[in-house]
């Protein structure tokens, strides 16, 4: 039986014999040639091999997976790669924290009102005034956030 058909994706791509102790073969099976093609394009076979070699055996699959993910991101977005995702997450977190702060402030405001006058309950008009205040603040903050992102996705760095 020919040994050529048992070559891993890396050795097929590199057009070489696949030895029994091939560093790539557990993580780049022959049925997924695109996986190695991606990592090879961004990191090169030598660098990938070194990174895998320098990792304990039980963590090597994660190394290969993370390299594949990052290389895919870089191929899709040659300028920012997966750093674009990090930037977006920072923005999402910033917005969520702002929103949370506002809601907590609303609670504190309504709570203090309730404590001062136990019989008082926020009326429809009062509640909507508070909401209008926060909406106005929110649109101001959104504009400010929008201005800061004009410096690009790397502004968080």
């Amino acid at each position: 039986m020919s040994t050529i058909s048992s070559r891993c994706a890396a050795c097929k791509y590199l057009r070489r014999r696949c030895p029994p102790d091939c560093i790539f073969s557990p993580y780049f099976p022959s049925n997924d040639p695109q996986r190695f093609a991606c990592v090879h394009r961004i990191y090169g076979a030598s660098n990938v091999g070194k990174m895998i070699q320098q990792t304990p055996t039980q963590m090597r699959a994660q190394v290969a997976d993370s390299l594949y993910f990052e290389s895919r991101c870089r191929i899709q977005d040659p300028v920012y790669g997966c750093v674009g995702i990090i930037s977006l997450l920072h923005l999402q977190i910033h917005n969520a924290e702002s929103e949370l702060a506002k809601v907590k402030a609303q609670i504190a405001f309504l709570n203090s009102d309730a404590n001062r006058e136990p019989s008082f309950r926020p009326q429809l008009e009062g509640a909507s005034n508070v909401n209008n205040l926060w909406s106005a603040q929110s649109s101001v903050e959104q504009h400010q956030i929008g201005s800061s992102t004009t410096h690009g996705p790397l502004a968080f760095m």
Partner: protein
């Protein structure tokens, strides 16, 4: 005479071109006026190129830079430097580790926000809506689900997760110790 001899000896150690970029210095080659690295890897930042070269290799970096428009090359270099730094700091997960942490933080915030909104709802009249149901739906923010990003299409199957699990906290995924939730 002695001073002259010392001067001559030192001459051999002086760089031929004092304007060699960090890349050409590391690669020990002449830095030409058309060097693709020179604008982005200044000679006073040798570590920046060293890190990028260690992770990606000079040849691959050059290929990436050639493919992007010139006005975007600085951002490209900076993002490559960031990725290289992350990979050197965390050889197993690289940037993915950072993404996992941020996603976890986002999930916690969503959880806290849901609790806070529920509390707020107890104070306000039911007919009054306080704000958008979820910060993710806020049109002013333009939030994007991780799975809508072009680079992530098809990646989720590699990690055995579905898009609905993005907002769910799971103690363990199908990849054992892989920390991130996708």
């Amino acid at each position: 005479m002695r001073a002259m001899r010392m001067k001559q000896a030192m001459k051999g150690h002086e760089p031929r071109s004092s304007s060699s970029c960090a890349a050409c210095k590391l690669l020990k080659r002449k830095c030409t006026s058309t060097c693709i690295f020179a604008p982005y890897f200044r000679s006073d930042e040798p570590k920046k190129f060293a890190k990028v070269h260690k992770v990606f290799g000079a040849s691959n970096v050059s290929k990436i830079l050639v493919e992007v428009p010139e006005e975007q090359r600085e951002d490209t270099v900076n993002s490559l430097a960031y990725e290289a730094e992350a990979r050197l700091r965390d050889p197993v997960y690289g940037c993915i580790g950072a993404i996992a942490l941020l996603q976890r933080k986002m999930l916690e915030l969503q959880h806290d926000l849901a609790i806070a909104r529920a509390r707020l709802a107890r104070y306000t009249v039911p007919a009054v809506s306080t704000s958008s149901p979820s910060v993710l739906m806020d049109e002013n923010v333009g939030m994007v689900s991780f799975y809508d990003m072009p680079c992530c299409s098809g990646v989720n199957e590699s990690f055995g997760q579905s898009s609905s699990q993005l907002t769910q906290v799971q103690p363990m995924n199908d990849f054992g110790q892989f920390p991130y939730i996708f």
